[in-house]
Amino acid sequence: MTDTPVLEMRHVDKSFGPIDVLHDISLKIRAGQVLCLLGDNGAGKSTLIKTLSGVHQPTRGEMLLDGKPVSFANPKAAQEMGIATVHQFGGTYPLMSVGRNFFAGAEPTIGFGPFKFFDRVTANRIAVEQLHKMGITRITDGDRIVGGLSGGERQSLAIARAVYFGARVLILDEPTAALGVKQAAHVLRIVNEAKRRGLAVVFITHQVMHAMAVGDDFAVLIRGKVAASFAKGEKTREEIADLMAGGESMAELEADINAQEEAA
């Protein structure tokens, strides 16, 4: 595998009018690796994702796709270049079947001329196959309504869909935030599977445990800046948590709270 990152940000700034949101962000996203973006609420994670996925354009700095400068006019353009974003519950329609969800906007059809029929059988078969490949074996019927699936399964469906439609970079926006422990583990396995298939994954989270489980590279975002970036194994969980809290040590915080409780 070459060393050129699939997607790279070089000294990217983003401001909305007078308000600076991102300062001097440089990131490298490599194929077959998971880059974890960590940060507290308001650290600029959403803006960063939106810049990566073409919703916003950088104010300064450049973005490179396969080493060549690139700019995305809109999310569609980014998608066509293989950058897929999966939001927390985005991309799934609760009252539609698994097969219909999977192919929304790209339906397989049979028939001729203007008489096109949605090919339900093929859609269901492929959807279930892809889900099984991703390790979701509980779903065997493509006619199942997505609203009846668990949060993790819905998340997995969205990821499987992005992979199937040729994504090279997978941006996962807080995929585990609203999930229980088991469900989160499920999604993390899928992230690993995507990585194993050679996708470049950007994994946004504020749960250090989840990041540690799948991440190869880490970047901690504080107030729009990359406060620290490091590779797997270079920092312990406590150190990362402290970084995210803005340098304030969690241990100190705990001691403070304990002291208060004793005093009371």
């Binding site: 329609y93 009252l95 906007g105 339906e107 019927d141 199942r144």
Partner: protein, 358 residues
């Protein structure tokens, strides 16, 4: 989507009553059967079940039904269209003026009327997609604008608000607005299949079949559901949400104009009176038919059943000994019961759409 669910299940694990109930149109169908039986019993002596009696409510239902289906599409897509109340008379007036004043061929006039309606529908859709103003407000505004134009232009051009519509020839009458009978006679015995059914009833059936194809069999139906389920995701998935929504507004406007034309040809007159009642009628039919008010869910079959139910309740009271003043009360109760039932059926559909695998 739903139709197939139960087929699959039957092939997997034999026939199950529960799977039948899980079909989204089950509620509407059950409601229709109950209401039909009820009025068949209480309307027996006043000929509810005869061919002529059935035509009374089928004719009424067909006009509501032609508009209710595209209004249902819009509701699935998360929008409403109430401007249809003024588009019904507009459709009739444009045709009557084109034929009566400008001596146009009836089919040219028909095309013109549809084109005018399509234009108004386009404006509705364009305003809704560009401004993000709720479609209720946008179409409320266009409802009054068109109602005003109906009256003003009628007076300016023809000097009246009641246009007489000349006879448009047997073939056009036959297709657009006439009474149809199908009676087999052998000797002095006769078997009546139907009597005095209006053309609009047959238009409704054909239209419903086409719409069923669009919503449930074609890929576009998938887009409509996706758009109503989550518009943002649908757009991200590459579905042209704006164009699709505008097309749906155009469809409902044209359907309304078609009903207006059918009425004008049948009665040989077109009036500017805005049909406010039809606005509520179509929405009731769609909701009774199981379409989710918040979008993302619904069926054409359900809407058809909802319309039939509504037609019976609206007209059927004349066949019973109940006081006619209770009519609206019945409809209100029907709507409430339907909404509650739909909720239950929908929960069944999402909670366990297939047999649990353990």
């Amino acid at each position: 989507m739903a139709k197939t669910t139960s087929n699959e299940k039957q092939s997997q694990g034999g026939f199950s009553i529960l799977s039948l109930f899980r079909r989204p149109e089950a509620g509407a169908a059950a409601g229709f059967i109950l209401i039909f039986l009820f009025f068949s019993i209480f309307g027996w002596e006043k000929n509810f079940l005869t061919a002529l009696g059935s035509s009374t409510w089928l004719n009424f239902a067909s006009k509501v039904g032609i508009i209710a289906i595209p209004v249902g599409f819009l509701m699935i897509a998360g929008e409403l269209d109430i401007s249809i109340g003024a588009l019904i008379p507009a459709g009739g007036i444009v045709m009557a003026l084109a034929v009566g004043i400008y001596d146009m061929n009836v089919w040219v006039a028909c095309g013109l009327s549809l084109a005018v309606a399509a234009g108004i529908g386009f404006i509705n859709g364009w305003l809704v997609t560009r401004t993000n103003v709720p479609s209720l407000i946008v179409t409320l505004a266009t409802l009054f604008v068109i109602a005003g134009l109906n009256a003003y232009l009628s007076k300016q051009i023809a000097g009246t608000t009641q246009h007489s519509m000349p006879d448009v020839g047997p073939v056009s009458e036959y297709l657009l607005g006439d009474y149809h009978n199908l009676i087999f006679t052998s000797g002095d015995r006769e078997m009546v299949i139907f009597r005095s059914l209006q053309s609009s009833f047959f238009i409704w059936i054909v239209f419903a079949v086409v719409c069923f194809y669009v919503l449930h069999l074609s890929p576009w139906g998938n887009w409509i559901f996706a758009m109503g389920g989550d518009q943002e995701s649908a757009r991200n998935a590459g579905i042209p949400t704006r164009r699709l929504k505008i097309a749906l507004f155009m469809l409902s406007a044209m359907a309304a104009a078609l009903v207006g034309m059918s009425e004008a040809v049948l009665a040989n007159t077109a009036s500017t009176t805005t049909q406010f009642g039809m606005i509520f009628n179509t929405i009731i039919c769609v909701v009774v038919g199981g379409v989710l008010l918040t979008g993302g869910f619904g069926t054409v079959t359900g809407t058809v059943f909802g319309t039939l139910t509504f037609g019976i309740v609206f007209q059927g009271i004349n066949f019973t000994t109940f006081d006619k003043d209770l009519n609206l009360l019945f409809i209100g109760v029907l709507l409430l019961v339907a909404v509650l039932m739909n909720d239950t059926f929908r929960n069944l559909a999402t909670s366990a759409s297939t047999t649990k695998k353990k």
